[in-house]
């Protein structure tokens, strides 16, 4: 009894000039129930300092790079004299590489169109809220990313190298109608490259998120391989040359 009284006195001490009280105890779905301690900081000044730091870092890097590397300026434009090779800027050179292997409508319009469509619809295809805010979602997600990237790199390099050595366009000339070499076969090969990881993952009971990770990684890794191939390995006439064997005056870094 006395114990209870002293506890009571401890919670509601008499003769204090503070005015506070427990209003109610909540068990249930209140906004902060079950959220644990709040781990937040005031944005001022931490976030702003981060941003100032990034601002200084980025501008300093640009500043230094601009001191040592000059922006290129070629001879004045001349519609009568074609440059060789006429390369697109680096972020489109992957598309240009793709153009070498199939019909331009397929490489330049349909495939980029599908990619944009894929990107836009991605959050509506994978709409689960689980594992948001975690890199690669899970350990398995990380493994899927690494293996898909590796697989795609090998498959795309093989595709580019083989098509370059035994051009479908040339070897099927006269054997099959042009749409077979220009449309059907390349589309089929790319579809197979894209679908293999999807089928493998589906069979292993992968989640939609994991399939999306594979698809996105196929896209990203293909873009990287195609860009490197177009940027570093294409010389005069957009022919394939190894960088160490590039004819003089075709250094791809020149126009960069």
């Amino acid at each position: 009894m006395t114990n209870e009284l002293s506890a009571n006195e401890e919670i509601f001490p008499k003769g204090t000039n503070k005015s506070y009280a427990i209003v109610e105890l909540v068990r249930g779905d209140g906004p902060m129930v079950g959220k644990g301690p709040e781990k937040t900081v005031f944005s001022f000044p931490v976030v702003l300092l981060w941003e100032v730091l990034l601002l200084l870092g980025v501008t300093l890097a640009l500043f230094l790079f601009s001191l040592i590397k000059q922006a290129p300026l070629d001879a004045i434009a001349n519609p009568q004299v074609t440059t060789d090779p006429a390369k697109a800027p680096w972020y489109f050179v992957g598309l240009q590489e793709l153009l070498e292997h199939m019909h331009p409508t397929l490489a330049g319009i349909i495939i980029p169109g599908i990619l944009v469509l894929f990107l836009v619809s991605l959050p509506y295809l994978d709409h689960s809220r689980t594992h948001a805010g975690v890199w690669f979602s899970t350990r398995r997600g990380k493994r899927i990313t690494v293996w898909t990237a590796l697989y795609t790199a090998i498959a795309m390099i093989a595709f580019i190298a083989l098509d370059n050595a035994f051009s479908m366009r040339e070897s099927l000339r006269g054997v099959a109608p042009p749409w077979v070499a220009q449309w059907l076969l390349p589309a089929l090969i790319l579809a197979v490259i894209v679908l293999i990881p999807v089928v493998v993952l589906r069979r292993k009971g992968a989640s939609t998120r994991e399939v999306m990770i594979a698809l996105f990684t196929v896209m990203l890794a293909s873009a990287v391989v195609l860009t490197i191939s177009g940027f570093l390995f294409r010389g005069p006439g957009f022919e394939m040359f190894p960088p160490w064997n590039m004819p003089d005056g075709y250094n791809p870094w020149n126009d960069f």
Binding site: S43, L62, A77
Partner: protein, 246 residues
């Protein structure tokens, strides 16, 4: 805060207080007011989670892209003072910028490299957002805005590529716009709309210039604002959704 008399008189003055609606931000209330009463700061929430501040979560790529955009606007405006978008004058003014304008070559370098860097950083930012699953609800629509921003960034970079009017730009744009011509049905019309004719010419130069200095930057500012605003409205970085495991 021990403040000297003149400073105190300044910060208490009618003029100062018409600018700043808060006191020195050394306490929670004034720190909150600093963020909410300033148009540039109010894109930030008053408080952020420690999780979302970890550098190896976001790598600051989104902010870096915005900074690069700022550098591009600044250097771009400087270049506009000298550059003339006509077939006869474009190349000579480029030479002029490089040879006789004080810091002209340097400003052009900054603009060029910032443009390349922005494309790269925007792509990396997209990869970061994807691999951290930050496109998941309720952030779906902000992802879509991000995809549009990527396309606008590519467009801004591509239209700027033509402006020096040298061999490099002329033939790169010829190659690029030829691809547009291969679109089924609408291809030739699209290509002609872009070029203002059948080949890269004066019409193309003025079209690309207008897109490059007006339409695309304005669209970018608009959508970047929406993009930032929605990051806040959707609950900050998706790092906040991750379970606590520190």
């Amino acid at each position: 805060m021990a403040q000297s008399k003149p400073i105190e008189r300044l910060t208490q003055s009618r003029v100062w207080r018409s600018f700043f609606r808060h006191g020195w931000p050394d306490n929670p209330l004034d720190r909150s007011l600093t963020m909410t009463s300033n148009i540039f700061f109010h894109l930030h929430p008053v408080k952020v989670s420690r999780k979302s501040l970890r550098w190896n979560y976001s790598f600051g790529l989104g902010i870096m892209a915005a900074i690069l955009y700022g550098v591009l606007v600044f250097t771009g405006i400087l270049l506009m003072f000298y550059y003339v978008p006509s077939v006869e004058r474009a190349y000579p003014t480029m030479k002029e910028i490089q040879l006789s304008v004080p810091l002209g070559q340097f400003t052009r370098n900054m603009h060029r490299w910032a443009a390349h860097a922005m494309v790269l950083v925007v792509i990396l930012h997209m990869a970061r957002v994807f691999y951290t699953g930050a496109y998941k609800p309720p952030r779906e629509f902000n992802w879509v805005i991000g995809v549009i921003l990527l396309l606008l960034t590519l467009g801004a970079s591509f239209t700027g590529y033509l402006l020096p009017w040298d061999q490099l730009s002329y033939w790169a744009i010829t190659v690029g716009t030829n691809i547009a011509g291969y679109a089924p049905v609408a291809g030739p019309v699209m290509r002609e709309l872009l070029l203002g004719g059948t080949e890269v010419s004066q019409n193309t130069l003025i079209r690309f210039y207008t897109l490059h200095i007006a339409l695309l930057p304005a669209s970018l500012v608009l959508l970047i604002s929406v993009h930032f605003w929605r990051v806040r409205k959707d609950g900050g970085l998706a790092a906040n959704e991750a379970p606590d495991a520190e």
